[in-house]
């Protein structure tokens, strides 16, 4: 049994560590700083095409969580937990929407300092500021708030940027739910997710994506959320699996999925929606978005086939669950890389993700003996790490080049080192904070349903409903 009191110390340690990290890679900063030279004249204008694509991308990414992830996860549990598993995704979507509106967005995307934003957008205060005559024509500038650090000028309204980012804030905690499926109390989930979204997700998003964030300034590359979303959710999931313990009957009862066809629908919708996730992260309908979509498709297919053939060879049959798990692993791994790599690199990333995640979900997990019900860590954590590191290898400079930084961020040893820093900081911060928040939640309402209730199934016990 892990003792709560130890965590407080760890949390403090962690903050110190994070404060120290930027020092490891000072050399990478100038390139970014130089980018500040390009200053747009006059207030930036909306572009209707870019806005159209970002509105669409927002819808696509929302679709990833509901019904995508809800189905993917619900398709892997036993009949008695199908509704409760869908409810986890659905409720998280609702809770995080409000948390993000109230404070999450402000913490993540206002200048603040290198570790978190400020409170200037609490309750979206001021987001309607320059609306005049209905059609707001001024585009959003993601301000760095720091002298010599460039702002990021978009061609879309701030509401759309905020919404697009909200859908990322939603799916990340929803991914964690895969690790504690089948046994967590619903009340515990509500509390834990609220805290986690504010205290873990929003700051990490700030580090990596706000111009003022330390990782961003340092040059850590994460196009669409390898660290912020997947490693973050993966390690948090691992902590949940460790703290909650194994499902009743794990290893002896038959826990075969009730209806894998749901999981296939879910994985398919994740795939389609991921075009919004990755190509949408270009924040415009342009060549970079097109390339991001292309490498997403290729890596996903390569990973699905990678897992499928690995399984076919080692276990004798190519399972459907294997193919879709591989696809998700590929989607995860290409996420940080998507705006940086070319098709060649994407094949390598895909195959690597497919095979490595196959190994982590089918062997590593059993070797280490934790029960991560739906492999939040095995697929998202490991897949995210593979992708984040390989981004540092395969990044193609011209894709990220700008006037201010004409070489962009090409892959290489220097970049690999930066990527490793990104990975490790996320693992450490998210891992430790998740443990702390679990302890708090446990103290408040307890984490797990009783053994009898777990046997009976969460659908009827927690929600008073069932499928027939």
């Amino acid at each position: 049994m892990i003792k709560p009191r130890n965590f407080w110390g760890l949390g403090v340690l962690l903050f110190a560590l994070v404060l120290a990290l930027p020092a490891f890679a000072d050399d990478a900063a100038p390139a970014v700083a130089a980018a500040a030279a390009a200053v747009p004249a006059g207030p930036p204008k909306l572009d209707s095409g870019d806005t159209a694509w970002m509105l669409t991308s927002t819808a696509l990414v929302l679709m990833m969580t509901i019904p995508g992830l809800a189905l993917f996860y619900a398709g892997m549990v036993r009949k008695k937990n199908v509704l409760a598993t869908m409810m986890q995704s659905f409720a998280i979507c609702c809770i995080v929407t409000l948390v993000w509106t109230v404070a999450g967005y402000s913490i993540a995307f206002t200048p603040g300092n290198a570790y978190m934003g400020d409170f200037s957008r609490i309750l979206l205060n001021g987001i309607a500021g320059h609306i005049e005559k209905g059609n707001d024509t001024i585009a959003f500038v993601l301000a760095s708030g720091i002298k010599d650090v460039a702002d990021m000028t978009t061609t879309i309204p701030e509401t759309v940027y905020m919404m697009f980012q909200m859908t990322f804030a939603i799916i990340t905690p929803a991914l964690i739910a895969g690790a504690f499926a089948d046994r967590m109390k619903f009340s515990a989930l509500c509390i834990f997710i609220t805290l986690w979204s504010l205290i873990v997700y929003a700051p990490i998003a700030h580090w990596v994506w706000a111009p003022s964030g330390w990782a961003n300034q340092m040059g850590v590359l994460d196009f669409a959320g390898g660290t912020v979303v997947h490693i973050n959710a993966g390690i948090a999931g691992l902590m949940c699996a460790l703290v909650l313990g194994k499902r009743v009957g794990y290893g002896s009862d038959n826990m075969a999925p009730y209806n894998l066809s749901y999981a296939v629908i879910g994985a398919s919708l994740l795939w389609v929606g991921w075009f919004g996730f990755n190509a949408g992260s270009a924040v415009a309908a342009n060549g970079r978005a097109g390339m991001a979509m292309t490498v997403t498709q290729i890596a996903t297919a390569a990973a699905a086939l990678g897992w499928m053939f690995a399984e076919w060879i080692t276990k004798g049959k190519p399972s459907v669950l294997g193919a879709i798990s591989g696809a998700v692993a590929g989607l995860v791994a290409i996420t940080p890389a998507s705006g940086y790599v070319l098709p060649g690199g994407s094949i390598v990333i895909g195959v690597a993700a497919g095979i490595i995640c196959f190994w982590s979900a089918t062997s590593l997990k059993h070797m280490l003996g934790y029960d991560d019900s739906l492999d939040a860590f095995g697929v998202h954590g490991i897949g995210g790490i593979v992708g984040a590191l390989l981004t540092g290898v395969f990044a193609y400079g011209p894709l990220s080049a700008t006037d201010a930084s004409p070489d962009g961020s090409p892959g290489g040893l220097a970049q690999l080192k930066l990527q490793a820093i990104g990975v490790v900081s996320t693992l450490v911060y998210s891992g430790v904070m998740t443990l702390i928040l679990l302890m708090i939640t446990k103290a408040l309402v307890g984490l797990r349903v009783g053994q009898e209730e777990e046997r009976e199934g969460l659908d009827i016990v927690l929600h008073g409903e069932q499928i027939f």
Partner: protein
């Protein structure tokens, strides 16, 4: 009267039903069941978790017939459900003390 209870392979159901009609059997009841026996199932693997499927889908037929028809019915079922491969199933015979048709209240022989 006798209750003939037969466990058969699912795809043989229509054959069995057709074999019984000529004998004058006018009704029967079937259920989907899972059978455990000498016939071995497949192994399912879900992300490394292996489950041996020891229960295979079978159909259970329950048909109540006058005692004097029992032999013919058993014969008809065993022929029509036969493939010769392991897992073909079993036929059991149980004594029925009374029978009643709910619609009419007819009893015993009349009720079948």
């Amino acid at each position: 009267m006798k209750l003939i209870m037969a466990i058969i392979k699912p795809f043989k159901l229509d054959d069995v039903r057709e074999a019984l009609t000529p004998l004058g059997v006018q009704g029967l009841t079937v259920s989907e069941v899972k059978g455990f026996g000498r016939q071995k199932g497949q192994t399912e693997i879900y992300r490394g978790a292996e489950y041996h499927v020891s229960f295979l889908p079978k159909i259970k037929i329950e048909v109540v017939v006058p005692a004097d028809l029992a032999d013919q019915v058993i014969e008809a079922i065993s022929k029509s459900a036969h493939t010769g491969k392991i897992g073909d199933g079993k036929i059991f015979v149980i004594d029925i003390e009374r029978a009643m048709r709910i619609r009419t209240g007819e009893v015993d022989g009349e009720a079948l």
